[in-house]
């Protein structure tokens, strides 16, 4: 309980709430699109730089386990998401696959919020975790799109954009490019040179995140308006999937030898659903899939769920499981 409270009462979460309130009371508050883009550019590059600096100080032996586990989870979670969305959620193949692509990928902001929460809870988290965000981002999207192809009728295949285009879209998308670019720059330069840009990329980071969450709150609240159409089955899945995937992630992290804090953050990453890279790729490759479903679930349900309930849960789970694993 206390851990939930401590998590909720933070500038980050409350800025998200402020954004939602703004939408509910029909305020004219908005973050201009150019600013939103700049904020996300900043955050992704900064995550990368920080992760790269940490990677440059880690041995390959140290990284191998976590990277492998992350990859496996990135391939597994879209399958479980697809299965549940088909059976429990009663979605068609295309919509289920689209949702699977989102839950297979990762939300960078959930990662950041988990990192903060773990720090606030006094649990250490590995510096190389940012690198795992990059590892987790792509495979899930890819599996999701392949699922749609395999199961879809031929007619629909023709109509849909080409898979190659979608893969190009993901790999060259600004999201991956900045994250991986930052990682490479951070790794090559090393911690010392990254330190030189710390007053811009590291120190003010958390404050910038507040502004970003303000906008996310606005957008999420808009998406929540579509919740009624989604039906309670999907709503429930939007809360069950992060828990399921998150616990898997925590366990996987601990097995790979990570600290309790790091494993909890990995859990939050695995339990999160993408809302930047995945939607763009899915829109290209599966235009018939309904954004009213996949975006509403990932941004309107799972993101706020993780921000408020999921992250403290994963922290608690990690503490507890670390006694056994």
């Amino acid at each position: 309980m206390e851990i939930i409270y401590a998590n909720l009462v933070s500038p980050i979460v409350l800025c998200f709430a402020l954004g939602m309130v703004a939408t509910w009371i029909r305020s004219d508050l908005e973050v201009p699109p150019a600013i939103y883009q700049a904020l996300s550019l900043y955050l992704l590059l900064a995550i990368g730089l920080k992760g790269g600096a940490a990677v440059s100080q880690s041995s390959i032996a140290e990284l191998a386990g976590p990277v492998l586990v992350t990859l496996l989870l990135g391939l597994l979670t879209p399958l479980s998401a697809f299965f549940l969305m088909r059976r429990v959620g009663r979605l068609g193949v295309t919509d289920a696959a689209a949702v699977a692509a989102h839950y297979g990928s990762v939300s960078a902001v959930t990662f950041l919020a988990a990192l903060e929460a773990s720090r606030a809870a006094g649990l250490a988290a590995e510096g190389y975790l940012s690198a795992l965000v990059a590892v987790l981002e792509v495979p899930g999207i890819f599996v999701g799109l392949v699922l749609a192809r395999r199961k879809a009728a031929p007619a629909s295949k023709a109509a849909a954009g080409s898979l190659g285009e979608a893969v190009h879209e993901v790999l060259t998308g600004r999201s991956i490019l900045l994250l991986v670019g930052g990682l490479v720059i951070g790794t090559v330069c090393g911690a010392e040179k990254v330190e030189q840009v710390a007053p811009f990329f590291i120190a003010p980071f958390k404050g910038v995140l507040c502004l970003f969450l303000l906008e996310l709150g606005i957008v999420a609240a808009r998406r929540m308006r579509d919740l009624r159409q989604a039906g309670w089955r999907l709503l429930a899945l939007g809360c069950v999937l992060p828990v399921l995937h998150g616990i898997l992630g925590v366990a996987g992290g601990l097995i790979a030898g990570m600290e309790p804090g790091g494993a909890a953050v990995l859990g939050a990453m695995v339990g999160s659903a993408s809302y930047i890279a995945a939607p763009a790729a899915v829109r290209i490759a599966l235009p018939e899939a309904s954004p009213g479903i996949y975006l509403t679930l990932s941004l309107g349900v799972t993101f706020p769920f993780n921000l408020t309930v999921g992250i403290p849960l994963f922290l608690a789970a990690s503490r507890w499981l670390s006694n056994f694993l």
């Binding site: 699109p33 939103y36 883009q37 996300s40 109509a159 957008v219 808009r222 809302y275 930047i276 939607p279 763009a280 899915v282 829109r283 290209i284 235009p287 018939e288 309904s290 954004p291 009213g292 975006l295």
Partner: protein, 101 residues
């Protein structure tokens, strides 16, 4: 006299931007002008708020090119994406530069 040509306007979700530019180029447009816009339509569908809003593409073309672009759009994008397109008559200063031989 300045010749009468068609101005075609396409409003579409941001994700189609490069595809649409390639399309109109391929069908014979000599240029285009592009603006960032917002909008709502009957679908209300957009890939992602994060892809930015809609784009509006305007291109001055001959009537035949306009018809061909209309056909391609209807064929490929009108069903599955949020796209609208329309044309109007315009009188263009030195219009000859807008028609490819």
């Amino acid at each position: 006299m300045n010749p009468t040509l068609k101005k075609m306007t396409i409003v579409a979700e941001r994700v189609l931007r490069d595809k649409l530019i390639a399309l109109i180029r391929k069908e014979g447009a000599t240029g285009y002008t592009l603006a960032a816009v917002e909008g709502e339509g009957s679908r209300g569908v957009r890939a992602s708020e994060f892809e930015g809003r809609n784009v509006q593409i305007e291109t001055i073309v001959s009537a035949e090119t306009a018809t061909r672009i209309f056909d391609r759009l209807a064929e490929r994008y009108l069903e599955a994406y949020a796209v609208i397109a329309y044309t109007s008559d315009v009188e263009v200063l030195r219009g000859s530069k807008f028609v490819k031989e």
